[in-house]
Structure formats: C-alpha cells, structure tokens
Amino acid sequence: MSTDSIRWPQTETAAHPLVDKLHEWVTTVDHKRLGILYIIYALVFLLIGGIEATVIRIQLIRPHNDFVSPQVFNRMFTMHGTTMIFFVVMPVLFGFANYLIPLMIGARDMAFPRLNAFSFWMTAFGGLLLYFSLVGANGLYGAGNAPDVGWFAYAPLTSRTFSVGHSTDFWTLALLVSGFGSIGTAVNIIATVLCMRCPGMTLAKMPLFAWLNLVMASLVILAVSPLTAAQLMLLVDRYLGGHFFDTQAGGSAVIWMHFFWVFGHPEVYVLVIPAFAFASEIIPVFSRKAIFGYPVMVAATICIGFIGMSVWAHHMFTVGMSSAANTFFVISTMAIAVPTGIKIFNWLATMWGGKIEFKTPMLFCVAFLFQFLVAGLTGIMLGSAPFNWQLGNSYFVVAHFHYVIVGGILFTIFGAFYYWFPKMSGKMYSETLGKLHFWLFLIGFHLTFDFMHIPGLLGMPRRIYTYEPGRGWDVWNLIVTIGVFFQALGIVVFVANLVWSYFKGETAGSDPWDAWTLEWSTPSPPPAYNFAVIPTIKSRRPLWDLKHPADPDWKYE
C-alpha cells in the first residue's frame, strides 16, 4: 500500500496569490489546517511567554534587583502563567489532537468542522484580548496594564476594591472566550472519537492517542465549565455589584479557591494526558515494540481522569480546612500516584527488550520519563498536607509544577513536533539541530528547575519581585536564571530547525519512522480528504499487520 507515488500538486498551490492563500487559511474548516493554525499560534505565544519568564528570572537573579518595578513584575508572572497554560499548552495540544485524531481513526475530518474553526478562532481571539490589556486596560489614555492578580486570581484581590481599572476584566474575559473555544474543541474530539472510527476499529483497537485525547476532552468538559461559572460570578461581582466573593458582605474568598481549583486541578490532567498520548505513540515506535499493557494504559488513564476530579483542594491545604477535609484530599492525591506510576512502568516495560533508536523524538520522550518520575515524586511530597504547610506556595511548588509542565509536557510536545513534522510538512527536520536543541534545552531545564527546589526548601515564597539577602537564596536564584539562557538558545535552535527544514529539508515520504498507526499510510502531507479509501482494520497496529503478514497483531490481541 505504498503511497509515495501520490504527490500533492505543489505547483498549483504555489501559483496562488498571497491574498487567496490567506483567505483559504482563514476560512478553512479542514482539521489539518486548523491543527497547524493552533500549533503555530501556540509557538508564537511560547516565545512571548518565554520572554516574560526571562524578565522574571533576570529580576530575581540577585536580591534587591531593580530590573523591573514590582508592578511590572507582578504583571509578568500573571501573564506568564496565563499565557503558557491557556495560549501555549492547551492550543498546541488541541492542534495535535485536531490534526491527528481523524487520521489515526481513519476518518476524513473531525465530527464538526465548522465548530472546529469557530473554536480555534475563539481561542485565538481570547489570547489577543488578553494581550490587548497592555494597551487597553487603563483606558487608552494611560499606558494600560496587563492583569497582575496571579494566574489563579484569588478573591478578594480581584474585587473592584483591590483591582482598580480593567486589567482583571481582561483576564476574565480572555479566559471566558477561550474557554468556549476549549469546550467546543472538546465536544468535537469526543464526537469524533465516538462516532467516526473506520470499520473494524472498536474502542479497544483505537490508538492510545485517540483514547487519551478522549479522556482529556471529557476532563475539559467537566473542568473548564466551573472556571467559566466562576468567571461569570467574578464579572457579576465586579460589574453588577454582586457579592459572590465579597467578604465584607458575608461572601467567601475560599469559595473562589474551591471553584478555581475544581477547574485548576483537572486542568493539569488536561495538559498532561495528551503528553502521555505523545509518549505512548513515540516510545513504542522507537523501541520497536508494541505498547506494553494497552488495556491497563487505558484503564489507568480513565482512573486518573476520575480521581483527578477529586483532588483539587490539595492546592488549599494552607487555607484552614478541617483536618477531615485535609486528610481526604491527602488520600485522593496520593491515590492518583498509583495509576500514574503504572503508566511509567508500562512505558519502561515497552522499552525493555526493545531495540531503542535514539532519534530526537525518542530523546525527548526518554527525558520525559526521568523528569516526570521526579515531578510525580515531588508531587507526592506536596500531597502530604504537613509537607505542604511548609512547602506550599514556595519555590518548591514552582519547581514541581514546572518540572511537570516543562520537563514532562513540553518535552513530549517537542518530541511530538519532531515525530510528526515529516507528516505535516512532507520534509525531514535536521537531526543534528534536533539533537542540539535537545541537549541545550535539557541542560537549561535542569539548571533552572532542579536547583529551583532549593530556595523553596529554604523558605522562599513564590510571586515575590525581590528577596532579602542573607536568607541563603542568592546563589540558587543565580543558577536558576543562568539555566534560562540555555533553554532560550534551545528554543531558537528549535524554531530555526522547523523553518529551515520546512523549506530545505529532505523529502520525508509517508512513513519515515516505519511506524504502525494509520496516519503513516497517507502521503506527507496528507491530501484534504485524508484517505482515498476509508481503511478497514483488524488490530491496534494496522501497518504492522501489513508489514508483517506472517505475524500480525490481531493474532495476539
């Protein structure tokens, strides 16, 4: 079933004037194009969020630094967190999901292509709205300023009394708008996975990527909605004189925390489960073995989804809940370590006895395994309430969650970029530059985030624009900041690789990795209709069956 002979008519598209091309992209409802739009959008915001992080770290490189004022610093960390979560990681994950799910399940597009486009543009607009605050929040007369209430915007700091002007409103509205986009995409993913699989593909024969994105989408539905509700309540408080979070009127600041973290905790599973999906596709291919324990991987993920909805108040251990409540959230938080640990063991077992090829995608996924292990363990530590009373809201927490999001999620995202770049662009990336990116970023990541645990252990709280000398934090902050420059360099190499390879890379062919899922049976890049004939499959690895007719998977599954 060689598809190398089918070539996408490049010459025809090259002749179109720019305006036509732009019009095509702006009005597209094709899941592949929307996927690419999401991904490029996320890359742009990755650079912006990275600049914000760099500003933060330069300010903190030594005590009593005055690189930026406290007001600017507070906006930096608010915008950095909000941007990275809502306008980098979520869009890039939605982008990959949109691009790959129909291809992997043998469909021609997502269930609701127009809803898909609507969701993307809502998300995109939300990001622009958030950044418009830089000029618009104080009215155009002032310089305007970005939100500075922290990405979780605790009440009553967000009330009219303490957050004067409109910066908080930009935060609220931007997330409200992009939240609708997220819910739309989640509806699409669920409907696509449940309703559009090709013949022979029962749920038990779906690629893990599709399963895990199904769980992720379900979590989005259950988690983003509480945030939407809380933000509507905040708007009622700020504009209609409501008292949802007005402690002067008997309202509760703690209830904002509950509502926010009911969103916030499942949100991190929304972020990490697609990362697991990438790892679950890449690790088997580069170990040359099927994933170990497919049914358990699915079950563990569903467990993570369920348990993940019940752990939220471990972000609130210091708030003064009863010991019964604290104890409950300790047990649920520790319980989630079990299915998560099982997944790590399964990936390890996939590699065990394999023939591992250390191409760039695999390098990133192996680093992910080590780093996610550490992140999970620091999470267990933080999940123990007494530990949390010391380490909560300190740089230990910042180190922990960056270990998960950067060391875990971003690393697998890089892996996914390299793995599927040939499919999306038709070109191979430069392996040398890929490895350079990996090593630069690995060094920078560890310099920054390994050492970041230490100031936390020594008592440094988070969200402070400066700190006192003599607390023992100085040298560690210096090392942490140095790591940033390695990461920045790594990102520059990464973007350069993508751009250069897109124009000058070798032709990739439809299956450069000798992989086994359906997307590798299409040309690179796939035509608009994806498959000339909708395939009928018999096992979880249809291309393995085709390549090994004497030893197909369906004999063993």
Partner: protein, 197 residues
C-alpha cells in the same frame, strides 16, 4: 484542488452512535457543570446574607409558570414524534405550543423579577441571596431565551415549508437541549423555592 469543504462520508451505520446526539449530550454535560457551580454557590450561601430580604420574606414559588415550562417538554416531544411520522403540520402546531409555553415561562420570570426589584427591593447587589438568586435564575432564563431563539428559527423554517420528514433527527437533537433546560429548571426550582426557603 483547493481546500473547499468536502462532504463527509456518512459514518458507517454499524454500532457507532450519531454525531449530533453525542455532540449535544457532551454540550449538555458542559452546561450541567456550569449550572452545578452556580447551584453549589446558591446552596453554600443559604442563610449567610448579612442583611436584606430573605427568601422566606419575598419568594413565592412560580408553580403555574413551572408547569408551563415542564409541559413544553411534552409538547416538544410530541412535535418531534409528529415529524418522525412525516406530519409537518402537526409538528408545526406542537412546536408553536412549545415556544408559547416557553415564552409564558419567561413572562412569569419577568413579572416575578419586577415585583422583587421594585416592591421587595431585592436586587443582585442587595445581599448574598440577591446575588445568587438572580445569577442562578438568570443563567437559566438566559438558556431559555437561547432555546426559544433556536426554536423560533425552526418554526420559521417550518412555516415556510422548509422542514421535512428527514429533518426529524436534527429537530430531535435540538429538543434534547430543550429537555435539558427543563431539567435544570426542576433542579433550580427545588433548590431555590423548596430547599432555600
């Protein structure tokens, strides 16, 4: 070949569920989660207002209007049934009845709010009860309005002869939304007019 919209192949009708129903159920799940948070806030704040009118003082259960709204679920069901049998004119009549009942409900909410605001001086900013009451009932009312807009659009299509027997599936999916709105009202009614008083 440019990227114009290529008609999707119909999903193979083996055991796979239909996209419209799945999509609508998922949307309903999301909306249910939003309403749940407002209900939780309402319940949490029962009895916590520092001042002002209390539910016992000012609320009277809108029984008649609730019956109207809940009956509209019956009428919409009958409408969908009729369309499935191909009976467009019967469909149109039941559909119109649904819209009317929904509109009566909204009228009831409007009069109740008018009384609460102008006679009882309960506004969204009076106290915790006001804030949570108007938010919860208002959010539901907003969903009723959106539903009525969609239903009216379909009625317009029906009256101009554009609705046919093969549209029964789509109309059924829309009716799921309407049933959801009714179920939410049952919950809101229970929490606000029964539990909260």
């Amino acid at each position: 070949m440019n990227a114009t919209y290529i008609p999707l192949q119909q999903p193979f009708t083996r055991e796979l569920p239909s996209r419209g129903r799945v999509g609508m159920f998922v949307l309903i799940a999301a909306e249910a989660a939003i309403f749940t948070i407002f209900v939780v806030a309402y319940i949490f704040y029962i009895g916590k207002s520092l001042t002002g009118p209390t539910p016992q003082d000012v609320l009277t259960a809108p029984i008649f209007y609730s019956i109207c709204l809940l009956s509209s679920s019956v009428t919409i069901h009958l409408a969908v049934q009729a369309l499935r049998l191909g009976n467009v004119s019967v469909f149109s009549r039941w559909w119109f009845a649904t819209i009317t009942l929904g509109a009566i409900f909204l009228y009831g909410t409007a009069t109740e709010w008018h009384r609460l605001i102008y006679r009882e001086r309960l506004t969204i900013s009076s106290n915790l009860f006001g804030t949570t009451y108007y938010s919860l009932v208002g959010l539901h009312g907003f969903h009723v309005v959106v539903g009525l807009l969609c239903l009216t659009l379909v009625l317009a299509f029906a009256l101009t002869g554009r609705v046919k027997h093969e549209h029964a599936y789509r109309v059924d999916v829309l009716s799921l939304y309407w049933h959801f709105v009714d179920v939410v009202w049952v919950v809101v009614f229970t929490v606000v007019y029964i539990v909260g008083r």
